[in-house]
Symmetry: C2
Subunit: 223 residues, 2 copies
């Protein structure tokens, strides 16, 4: 019998990448919630390098780093493919996943920016998201076409967590007037049943991210 377990944390967009991929492929798995304030032996032993969720367990092996897990899932269960079959199209998908991993770091800047810095950070994010919209998404329903794939999954944080960030920070970036195609994508993405049914509760996420936000702000003030 195949063993599939996922060690995750409920507000983590990275854990949700793995949840969505497994569910979209119809893979049964056991979910284990990690206590990130008191890290488990399971986490420390299975991801000694980063000590972070998500970690996927498959038949005794453990795999860390969400983008690495996504590729593993795709290779291990090729049914309901989440990457295109064509090597060039796959390369494009990986290019945009990497773009999100590299540029996503600016979100943190937006989150902790105060005063005038906030507008500046929002402008920077808008520029990055415009590139993503115009060169990555284009007029498509999903990244790469008409069906959901790993690029969409990797940008899941944008469709849900980023809206919470906008609410907390008090600046709206993904608006129809600024990013019409990306705004439509957020709806398309969240309309997929597996996504809709597997998102952390919005209000609960606001409370969680607010406490994180004030902690970060406090650290900034403390410097």
């Amino acid at each position: 019998m195949e063993e599939v377990k996922l060690l995750g944390f409920w507000p983590s967009p990275f854990s949700h990448r793995v949840i969505w991929s497994l569910k979209l492929k119809g893979i049964k798995y056991e979910y284990i919630e990690e206590d990130v304030s008191n890290k488990s032996q399971l986490l420390l032993q299975s991801n000694p390098v980063h000590k972070k969720v998500p970690v996927l367990f498959h038949n005794g092996n453990s795999i860390a780093e969400s983008t690495v897990i996504l590729e593993f899932i795709e290779e291990t269960w090729p049914e309901n493919p989440l990457l295109p079959r064509d090597a060039y199209q796959r390369a494009l998908a990986r290019f945009w996943i990497k773009f999100g991993e590299d540029e996503g770091l600016i979100i943190h800047k937006f989150f902790v920016a105060i005063g005038g810095e906030r507008e500046k950070a929002a402008k920077e994010i808008l520029e990055v998201l415009k590139i993503l919209e115009q060169q990555g998404l284009k007029e498509n329903k999903f990244f790469g076409g008409n069906t959901i794939g790993l690029v969409d999954i990797s940008y899941g944080w944008l469709a849900h967590w980023f809206l919470v960030t906008e609410e907390i920070v008090g600046v709206k970036v993904i608006e129809p007037s600024k990013l019409p195609l990306l705004h439509a994508w957020v709806k398309n993405f969240k309309d997929i049943p597996v996504i809709k049914d597997n998102l952390p509760d919005y209000e609960k996420l606001v409370v969680h991210m607010k406490s994180y936000y004030y902690k970060l702000l406090f650290e900034v003030v403390d410097l």
Copy 2:
């Protein structure tokens, strides 16, 4: 007839990742040297997002980002595999490639550090390289075993460019007393004929990186 072209820059470790992979697989290609001080239309059109080398051209398609190109090469020409066949072993390889991409950023800090900051940065790098050595490389000749693969190729900068950095900065990190296994790996890696025959000239690289170094230092002082 298959078209394979590479747009690169002679001192770029990222361009060399692609060169090594193509040569290890015996793929014939045309090399085009980019003038990075006056970027070509070919570069601007083929990598409009980052405007950086390397860019691989294959039958009219262009692919950017060296780690994405490496995966494309592996999928397009599976002969002489550079990733393990087993999905879990592939995941491990991708984990260590990602580790280098993420943690490699600290090299820049080491490069521009002056005075006491330099020793501090060298200490940080040593900690990162110890993790790489003890958990990634272990007692193996190459990452993942007895033959060269994509992990080794992705760490090529460590085997050649980093030694130049050490010389310029004046601090040695990869020493037998500090990192015996990684020190041995540098030799194993550079002993592979395809690698040895396709490295930028050391003295030329010192001159190039020194001019870059002084430019960076000047910018730091200028702040």
